[in-house]
């Protein structure tokens, strides 16, 4: 039994437009997403902006309701839980958000921020135990005890993200959802936080969902990676397998577009062109209009995830034809 099972999640946002006579505008953001978070594993969810990766993480957290499909946490369906039942589950599932400037209350001290989840769940009420727990937590994220009495504005971005991580760890969760936790940080600080997340995951055997747009970060931290595009998972594979054998044309295009910090190598590389062509709109494959291997079948058959190599799933109808692809290196 995996800690989290995401089964056939679909999410459509609807809005009523003014003077539209009851007609609704529907925007599908997630289409039939099935994934699982495993104990002591990090699942990377990688995609460009607007692909639905944040929406999916919100649904897993229960912050958004899916239009259809189930999220099963610890054997229980999130959709059928009572308020009290949900609170129990939430204790084991915590989140770290992208922006450490807006996710910490500026009027609370760090002690109050980290204590809040403990208060809500009524844990460690005894004064000396609470003190000990807080001190251990703040040290485990690389800050010191005197930081507890300060306010968020006294900290830099990286330190704030450490505080957000300490708050998430306060309840000793089994599941951690991290939504772009390092993308707002400076390069030199980013490395510190990535090391910290890796260390925490190993120590606590967490099941982690790591949402990112950065493949380099995903390669460092993730055990499995799902590549998402327009609300669909196009490719899913163990991390190293994905980087050595990317199968989907979209993944290939993304890899080729990521610049590498090596001027000699980088100046030789050529990004795969993915300019959108209007004539391909309406194809069943969401990537068809930008794909260079597009064929007639892409318009007829919806792309389904198929196992193309052991443990490696890819949703591409044109896949067998793709073999004539030019060799390319990351």
């Amino acid at each position: 039994m995996n800690p989290v099972e995401i089964k056939n999640i679909c999410k459509t946002y609807t809005r009523k437009r003014f003077l539209s006579f009851g007609k609704k505008e529907e925007t599908p953001v997630l289409k039939d997403v099935t994934l699982a978070l495993k104990e002591d594993r990090v699942l990377g969810l990688v995609g460009e902006s607007g692909c639905g990766k944040t929406t999916l993480s919100k649904i897993v957290l229960g912050l958004e309701k899916p239009t259809s499909g189930q999220v099963i946490v610890d054997g229980k369906d999130l959709g059928n839980l009572s308020k009290a039942g949900f609170k129990k589950i939430r204790r084991f599932m915590q989140v770290v958000f992208q922006d450490p400037y807006s996710s910490l209350d500026p009027r609370m001290t760090i002690r109050q921020i980290i204590s809040e989840p403990l208060d809500i769940h009524g844990l460690y009420k005894e004064k000396s135990t609470r003190k000990k727990v807080l001190e251990e937590l703040i040290k485990s994220v690389g800050l010191s005890v005197e930081h507890l009495n300060r306010y968020p504005h006294e900290f830099s971005g990286g330190q704030r993200q450490r505080i957000a991580i300490a708050r998430a760890l306060a309840l000793d969760p089994k599941i951690l959802i991290a939504d772009e936790p390092v993308s707002a940080l400076d390069v030199s600080v980013q490395a510190q936080i990535l090391n910290l997340l890796k260390e925490i995951k190993q120590k606590r055997r967490l099941a982690m969902l790591f949402v990112t747009h950065d493949f380099a970060v995903a390669r460092f931290l993730c055990d499995e990676i799902a590549v998402m595009y327009k609300g669909r998972i196009l490719e899913y594979a163990p991390g190293e397998e994905l980087f050595s054998n990317p199968q989907h044309p979209y993944t290939e295009a993304l890899f080729s577009a990521v610049p590498v910090p090596d001027p000699v190598h980088q100046k030789k590389r050529q990004a795969v062109s993915v300019a959108a062509r209007a004539d391909m709109e309406g194809h069943l494959c969401p990537f068809a209009s930008r794909c260079r291997y597009v064929c007639a079948e892409c318009g007829q058959t919806p792309p389904m995830l198929k196992e193309v190599r052991p443990g490696h799933f890819c949703a591409c109808t044109a896949l067998p034809f793709k073999k004539k692809k030019s060799s390319f290196a990351i």
Partner: protein, 325 residues
């Protein structure tokens, strides 16, 4: 000394901000020269002064900031002391700028075409019709399909990447000598980023334009730059040709920065991060701004600011190089 091939020469530029707590220096003596047809990448973390430096080049700083001293020489004129009206003639025509967030840099209530022709008509005495023809041609050049139709659309009808293309078209409309690009692709997805970079490189090579490219992303630097300037705490730490920076970085900060990069090319178990946090402007020590985080800091580093030691075009501000120089 200005060599004839140099288009922009910044000399000992000091910029500070007036705040409630007093004056906070942000740039503490930045000097460099930009060669014709070359791309200089200015790399730095947040608070290093890289955007302030970009804004001060065109005197676009907010009212609380002021240039205390220094010179910015362009075409024999000092931009720091130039009159507002002569400066206005240069902005957009000879030196132009691309900002980080394309969505907020365009005016939402004017069409793309109106904004493009506004720039052109402000500097050239041509008819509106010819300005429109030029604008449409520019939109085509930056890869916007169906340019004539797009000309009459508003920014909200464009995606982020398309808006940035419009910004580039606007910046290049009058064939400037210098392009200042302040994190032009940070707000964009990687595939779009690759397109925009290719576009800037192509146009830059065609027109022989020089560019100052400001970024925090070292991988982008490897892609676009000829020369790299590493900025930290308002000071230049190291400046060298791009290959030298990546192969033989001499400053501990540059070395640390390169080591701490996450690589997409191989899996690492641990990242050798630089400990500590970037300095907050106004709270640095009197010596080298990197000294508190530096693994090889000497006593001297905390007390005295190192000068730029130069050898074969490789400039490094670090006391460790004192004996070698």
């Amino acid at each position: 000394m200005i060599s004839p091939a140099c288009v922009l020469d910044v000399q000992d530029l000091h910029v500070s901000f007036s705040t409630e707590e007093g004056t906070v220096p942000v740039l503490k003596g930045l000097s460099y020269s930009l060669a014709k047809g070359k791309v200089l990448a200015v790399v730095g973390e947040s608070g290093s002064g890289k955007t302030v430096h970009a804004l001060s080049l065109l005197r676009l700083l907010p009212p609380t900031a002021h240039i205390d001293s220094g010179k910015i020489l362009f075409d024999g004129k000092d931009l720091v002391s130039l009159s507002p009206s002569s400066l206005r003639k240069l902005r957009g025509a000879r030196i132009s700028m691309i900002f980080q967030d394309p969505m907020s840099s365009l005016n939402p209530v004017l069409t793309i075409g109106e904004q493009l022709t506004e720039t052109i008509l402000a500097h050239r005495k041509i008819s509106k019709l010819r300005a429109k023809a030029l604008a449409v041609r520019l939109l085509k050049k930056v890869g916007i399909a169906d340019a004539a139709k797009r000309y009459d659309q508003y920014p909200f009808q464009f995606s982020g990447g398309m808006c940035q293309r419009v910004m580039i078209a606007m910046a290049l409309a009058l064939e400037p000598d210098v392009l200042i690009a302040d994190e032009p692709t940070t707000a964009l997805d990687v595939t779009i980023q690759a397109q925009i970079l290719r576009l800037i490189k192509e146009l830059q090579a065609q027109a022989g334009m020089s560019a100052v490219f400001i970024t925090h992303n070292l991988a982008l630097v490897a892609d676009v730059a000829d020369e790299v300037l590493v900025l930290y705490g308002g000071l230049c730490m190291e400046q060298a040709p791009v290959h030298t920076i990546f192969e033989k970085p001499l400053h501990p900060y540059t070395q640390g920065l390169l080591h701490s990069l996450v690589s997409i090319r191989q899996k690492a178990d641990f990242l050798p991060a630089i400990p500590g946090n970037p300095p907050v402007p106004g709270q640095e020590c009197p010596g080298c701004p990197f000294a508190p985080r530096c693994p090889r800091a000497l006593k001297k580093c905390f007390k005295e600011r190192p000068p730029l030691f130069e050898q074969d075009g490789h400039k490094v501000a670090c006391w460790l190089l004192e004996e070698k120089a």
